[in-house]
Amino acid sequence: MTFTQKHLLGIEPLHPSEITTLLDLADQYVDLNRRDVKRSDALAGLTQINMFFENSTRTQASFELAGKRLGADVMNMSMQASSIKKGETLIDTAMTLNAMHPDLLVVRHPHSGAVDLLAQKVNCAVLNAGDGRHEHPTQALLDALTIRRAKGRLHRLSIAICGDIAHSRVARSNIMLLGKMENRIRLIGPPTLMPAGIEHFGVEVFEDMREGLKDVDVVMMLRLQKERMDGGFIPSEREYYHRYGLDAEKLGFAKPDAIVMHPGPMNRGVEIDGTLADDINRSVIQEQVEMGVAVRMAAMDLLARNLRTRVEGQGVYV
């Protein structure tokens, strides 16, 4: 098994075999999480700090739970309320935390590349929990695990990603991951929400949702941010729902056993029909949340192992 990364900053630097390694380990943690006693000591004695410069309930809770189940000491810092308001720079904040010797740093930041910048300045392993419009690697990994468990494989699938691709780090990480694993990717959305030059990413782009969904195995819906709903990028919520909202009729164009995914939180009646989202035969949205904890446990476990190897091998972190 191979996983040589020091940090998990994105899907881009990962090798396909590293993705497989991580997902295989995550499968084991899914089993652990379904037991009565959900404890492991993989991270015992290690300190995990969650630094969220942007609001998040779900991702932060998932990382916190993942760390606690592996026995780490977990601390949450809500950075919006703290020193950043007092004018401290990102790097100063990083250096300050670094001096407290954390082992794992989980960071979310509203600016693309900010987590990379921070990772250059600290000695611990850094996990990107979402940076601007750049990457959200654990989301892509949990999506991959969900697909692999539902479809029995993670290659040669036809996968549609629908909605606000332009502003979505989830879409970028998923395009990268699913592409590396040799799937066929179709992007569906209005041209105002499609990033420039996206056709060079080895994807097919569709403006018509029915055409785009034709015979796909997986339908991934993206969240449409509230601030983008009125006039700026799309004319209105209702026109968007009419053209790009997933309902049973549009889903009819996909394969009969196609699964429906959404990274959450959902806007019911905007990008997805509420009944469809709750349909346990089609929707795997709850599984995604479950896989999220397992994938984050696996990611932190693997990074911690590399951390320990370095400590023993080179004394870098002593």
């Binding site: 720079t89 693309s112 030059g197």
Partner: protein
């Protein structure tokens, strides 16, 4: 002053478009003779050029010296030393300081400080509107009397076309040169990179290269309306070039420049969010870069500037979107430009036409020429000498160069201003 004879050099004459082996005689601060053989006058100081290149010193339009306001980033002294080390003999300073150079009083401060501190010639520009706010025009007449050679709001676009057209009309009546930044300001608002595959991959806010063409189109219409004398500070995209070509063919008084960074780097150099590559306008695609090099070769683009913009470490060590724009360029100007020579894209006379002759001509300065009677502002350089750039060895107070750690070719050996050697040990 004793005459100085520089022998055994390859003379780059941008007017003649030639490189010839010979000698050059300096008397009383001016070039007295240029030729294959020049007899040594009595008591002359003779410099053996060692077969290297001698060219007119670079005239750099658009240098930011951070006085007044941010002297910790760059002073006239440090900028002057950097210029001398880079073969730049005239720096044409930008008014985007804090406060802006928008009155005869502030301009006087600049002139006084510059003469005290800088070893090279400093020629100031002034703002076109007060505070560079795009609302009221500055005292263009008084500012010209005080020595302003051109009027510009730098990277701020005057979006109110009424204000801009009146300022241009007024400037035209005085024969003043206006330098503008062609860019559609609303489309480019908040952008950190050029839109396209790379911007999408990195998830950075981007602007279409078309915003430059839109800005230029508007400006051309206003020049046609007002008859003003206009220079576009930086043309960096392929799609703006046909508009520029038409405007020139139609006889408008328009010239255009580009920056050395847009000629030698492209958007991919930003790589993993390297903020030293964040400049304004943002770096473009390789296709755009090649088109701009081509336009320079044909003379469609007239000038090259360093767009020297010092920024301290704090303003650059931030997430890409938040980081300040700009790069220092005075000292790396010549070696960077020589990349285009070594790659076979441009000849040395073509380079010096754009770096020295054309900027001087456009500003009405006597520099930039290698002919008798011209001021002896010269640069002696070895076009082939290789080195690896170490940013901490730059003379600028700010070290924000995109060329840190890069292999460069071409070293300045001596710089002369008014016949006086101000750099090097030749």
């Amino acid at each position: 002053m004793t005459p100085t004879l520089i022998t055994n050099v390859h003379l780059i004459d941008p007017q003649a478009g030639s490189v010839t082996h010979g000698a050059l005689l300096i008397e009383n601060g001016h070039i007295a003779a240029v030729g294959a053989e020049i007899a040594v006058p009595d008591g002359a100081h003779v410099i053996d050029g060692g077969g290297k290149h001698l060219a007119p010193g670079i005239v750099d339009i658009g240098v930011k010296v951070c006085e007044p306001g941010e002297r910790h980033k760059e002073s006239f002294k440090s900028a002057g030393l950097a210029a001398a080390a880079g073969g730049v003999t005239t720096i044409v300073t930008r008014p985007d300081t804090a406060p802006a150079i928008d009155s005869p009083e502030t301009l006087e401060f600049v002139t006084r400080r510059a003469n005290e501190a800088a070893p090279v010639r400093v020629v100031p520009m002034a703002a076109l509107t007060k505070g560079r706010d795009g609302r009221e025009m500055t005292e263009i007449g008084f500012l010209m009397d005080a020595g302003a050679v051109a009027f510009t709001d730098c990277d701020r676009v005057i979006s109110d076309t009424k204000v801009f057209s009146r300022a241009l009309t007024y400037a035209r009546s005085l024969g003043a040169l206006v330098i503008a930044h062609p860019q559609e300001p609303i489309l480019s608002k908040g952008a950190a990179v050029t839109s396209g595959k790379f911007a999408s991959l990195r998830g950075l806010p981007a602007v279409s290269p078309m915003a430059e063409r839109m800005g230029l189109d508007r400006d051309i219409a206003i020049i046609e309306m007002t008859g003003a004398k206009y220079h576009a500070d930086q043309i960096t995209t392929a799609r703006a070039l046909p508009a520029l070509e038409r405007a020139k063919a139609n006889g408008l008084d328009i010239t255009a420049g580009t920056s050395i960074h847009h000629l030698t780097l492209n958007e991919l150099d930003v790589a993993d969010y390297r903020t030293f590559f964040k400049i304004k306008p943002p770096l473009r695609s390789e296709e755009d870069r090649m088109a701009v090099v081509e336009a320079l070769r044909h003379g469609l683009i007239d000038t090259i500037s360093s767009m020297h913009t010092p920024q301290d470490e704090e303003s650059k060590r931030l997430p890409y979107e938040e980081a300040a724009s700009g790069a220092v360029g005075l000292e790396t100007f010549l070696p960077a430009a020589l990349r285009l020579f070594h790659s076979g894209d441009l000849t040395l006379p073509q380079l010096f036409r754009a770096m020295a002759l054309n900027p001087a001509k456009r500003l009405g300065l006597p520099q930039g020429r290698l002919s008798p009677g011209a001021p002896a502002d010269l640069v002696l350089f070895d076009a082939n000498a290789p080195f690896v750039l170490d940013r901490f060895k730059l003379h600028s107070k700010s070290k924000n160069t995109p060329f840190d750690g890069q292999r460069m070719q071409g070293k300045v050996q001596a710089t002369f201003v008014g016949g006086k050697q101000i750099f090097g040990d030749a």
